[in-house]
């Protein structure tokens, strides 16, 4: 057993980080605030070129890696606030559902059904839409092509200015996903969403710590005050714990032997052990993201409440993520059965 983040994974994360900061720097991302297209086709193609959607596809189409590698990459995408239908496009590419998805030539959205109104993200640029039923473990359906944006009402002022939203009266039924691995799609989608959340949580921590070191009040850096230190320490605790959960769940998804061992200890099936690990990871990652960004805003004081400082974008994105693949409340309730 060696559960450290491996050297290859560190290098992979570092590579993605540098490509993203060169091709999709925050200024370029933020230039699309409030627009109907959050990431232009060039930007999306640049992202596709990095291979982020094809990580788990076998070579030569992809890189033949596992979910443990994918979550490390998606953490970086979360940190960099990369917009767009990242999770749906990855899932569609991995299952070979939509041509071009793996290379950044197509966009595939995700809609998780809930009791709330039907709000679909990024509809103007979607080629297809994956729809996940309310019942967590039932088969997802593919709506291809995606419903036309012209038939839907675009929200004038969505919570996240980089996640444009459309309201639909109803969704087409679509077709059940028949690809092998359809049953695991909800787990992989949850894991990738959780990884993005870990990215928001760790970025918020880094921003808060940097600010606490440079901002002076009462003649000292505010980071020398215990009241600020303790906020930052708690942020690290939340992101480390959530990250460990996400990485462990990814290992379970990758290795049937690990899942079988967990199932034996938990007295359940391997599929249930995976669901337990993934649900717990998503729950903790959702909470870590929202709590850490809020804490970072508090550390930044008044500046944290401005439009200029990007913390609000992390908070808003984290809230968008926590409404997909199970809200924290629903996940927690479902997890009680595993105690």
């Amino acid at each position: 057993m060696d559960f450290r983040v491996g050297d290859d994974q560190r290098a992979l994360a570092e590579g993605i980080r540098s490509v993203v900061s060169a091709r999709l720097p925050l200024e370029r991302v933020r230039a699309h605030e409030g627009e109907a297209v959050a990431v232009d086709p060039d930007g999306w193609a640049a992202l596709g070129e990095t291979g982020v959607f094809a990580l788990t596809l076998p070579e030569p189409a992809g890189t033949g890696l596992g979910m443990a590698d994918a979550v490390v990459v998606f953490e970086q995408l979360g940190r960099a606030l990369v917009p767009g239908p990242l999770v749906g496009t990855f899932l569609a590419a991995a299952a070979g559902l939509v041509g071009g998805a793996a290379e950044g030539g197509a966009q595939v959205g995700v809609h998780c059904r809930s009791a709330g109104p039907v709000l679909v993200e990024h509809l103007a640029t979607l080629d297809a839409l994956l729809v996940f039923p309310e019942e967590r473990l039932s088969t997802p359906r593919l709506v291809a092509p995606a419903p036309a944006a012209g038939d839907a009402v675009r929200m004038a002022d969505p919570l996240d200015p980089l996640t444009p939203m459309w309201r639909l009266e109803a969704l087409p039924a679509g077709e059940p996903v028949a690809a092998p691995g359809a049953a695991r799609m909800v787990q992989e989608g949850s894991l990738l969403s959780a990884a993005l959340q870990v990215g928001h949580a760790t970025e918020a921590l880094d921003l808060a710590v940097a600010y606490a070191k440079e901002r002076h009040q009462f003649g000292k850096p505010i980071g020398s005050f215990q009241a600020i230190k303790h906020i930052c320490a708690d942020m690290l605790v939340r992101s480390e714990v959530a990250q460990a959960a996400v990485h462990a769940a990814a290992c379970l998804a990758d290795d049937p032997e690990v899942a079988a061992a967990e199932a034996e200890v938990g007295g359940c099936t391997p599929a249930e052990a995976l669901d337990r690990a993934v649900s717990g990871a998503k729950l903790l990652a959702d909470e870590a993201a929202v709590a850490n960004v809020r804490a970072a805003i508090q550390v930044h004081g008044g500046m944290g409440f401005t439009w200029e400082v990007p913390l609000h974008l992390h908070l808003k994105r984290a809230l968008v993520r926590s409404t997909t693949f199970g809200t924290p409340a629903r996940l927690a309730q479902a997890l009680a059965a595993f105690a």
Binding site: F3, A68, K229, G280
Partner: protein
């Protein structure tokens, strides 16, 4: 990132599991909490069984008489022992996990020869004399004084939070031999039968007498019983801490997971799981304990590959202790009026609510955010040493 155990790790687990299954039936139930001589006998007998089977000092290096197990094997050892319901290390705690490792790292050949074998065999119990009434979180401020007189130190002062003092043979004692601050401290082996030691039990809120206060009045300790150089005791103490491989709370964590399962079953029987709020709190603890188990594996992996456990320890303690307290609070809520008694009580369906264990665990969790570095001190450590925020105080 690989959570798969190697063939040799798996073999270690199988062998241990088989030994536990064949040995535990003969061990019997633990004695009452307040019967200290019976507890000593029980814990030492268990240690002797471990010794005879080659599991004593599983984390000690082989040249010190231990098993020299890898950090991952240490994790497996603790996991299997807890899952099998094996006795806890008990009164052997200080000797096996603290004083022994210190003597291994810093003791003279004579000190190693004198103390390590009996600790491993379950024949020698140690207690810890570190904290003082005026030196808790600020341990370096300790004032118990040791003055040289010929071949002895003459020690005068007082210690507090000394676990297992009534049944201990030796005390690992921090004393002031030099100037103020952490440069004037020495580490001594004090025999507990030396004249001038008064032990006063310190009763905790749970009614236990685990802790004591020690009053030391001109106690003579041979200079030969000093571990490390004079005034170098602070470094000696820190070296011991570096032995920690991230497995300190494995038993507690797995026990919390088991208690959570029992609590969920009680709640289910009483129809309380229909309460979504309660179910969410249970589910949240499932996620948190699972994540902390994953974090433990990460810390152990760091220790296995680099020799030091990395940042996991403080992070783990901060998170685990608060979730353990949340579990205790949940137990009190689920048990309702039954929480007012630690005697076993039958619920409305005739089945017992619990066996008092949940309540005992609740009391215990209250001390978790205080013992071994308060959560506030832990947060300072995390902020300054890991996040690099400026030092204060």
């Amino acid at each position: 990132m690989d959570l798969r155990y190697s063939a040799s790790e798996q073999a270690f687990r199988e062998e241990l599991r088989a030994w536990l299954a064949s040995t535990l039936p003969s061990v019997g139930a633990p004695p009452p909490l307040h019967d200290w001589s019976a507890r000593r006998a029980y814990d030492m007998r268990w240690q002797r069984l471990l010794y005879d089977a080659g599991y004593a000092g599983v984390d000690w290096p082989a040249d010190a008489g231990g098993r020299g197990a890898s950090p991952v094997e240490q994790l497996i050892f603790k996991e299997e022992c807890e899952r099998a319901g094996a006795p806890y290390v008990g009164v052997g705690f200080v000797g096996l996990l603290h004083a022994g490792p210190t003597i291994i790292a810093e003791g003279t050949p004579a000190q190693r020869e004198r103390h390590l074998p009996p600790i491993l065999r379950g024949e020698e119990v140690w207690c810890q004399g570190f904290s003082e009434p005026d030196a808790g979180s600020d341990l370096a401020h300790l004032r118990t004084r040791a003055v040289r007189d010929g071949d002895d130190y003459v020690v005068t002062g007082s210690k507090i939070w000394t676990s297992f003092a009534p049944v201990a043979d030796f005390c690992e004692l921090l004393v002031r031999t030099g100037d103020e601050g952490n440069r004037g401290i020495s580490w001594l082996i004090m025999p507990m039968d030396a004249p001038g030691i008064e032990i006063r039990p310190l009763r905790t809120m749970e009614g236990s007498t685990e802790f004591a206060e020690l009053f030391l009045n001109e106690v003579r300790v041979p200079v030969a019983s000093r571990v490390g150089e004079e005034n170098d005791g602070w470094r000696v103490t820190m070296v011991t801490l570096s032995f920690e491989r991230g497995t300190a709370f494995v038993g507690d964590l797995l026990e919390s997971m088991r208690l959570l399962g029992e609590l969920r079953r009680v709640a289910e029987r009483l129809g309380l799981l229909d309460d979504a709020g309660l179910a969410r709190r249970i589910g949240h603890l499932v996620a948190a304990f699972d994540a902390l188990w994953a974090l433990t594996k990460r810390t152990v992996s760091e220790a296995a590959q680099t020799g030091v456990p990395g940042i996991g320890g403080s992070v783990f303690k901060l998170s685990y202790t608060e979730h353990a307290q949340a579990l205790g609070d949940l137990a009190v809520e689920v048990l309702d009026r039954a929480a007012l008694s630690t005697d076993p009580l039958a619920g409305p369906d005739g089945e017992p609510y619990g066996n008092g264990e949940q309540l005992h665990a609740w009391y215990k969790t209250i001390s978790l955010t205080i013992a071994a570095g308060t959560s506030q001190v832990q947060r300072n450590i995390v902020a300054e040493r890991i996040l690099g925020l400026p030092r204060s105080r």
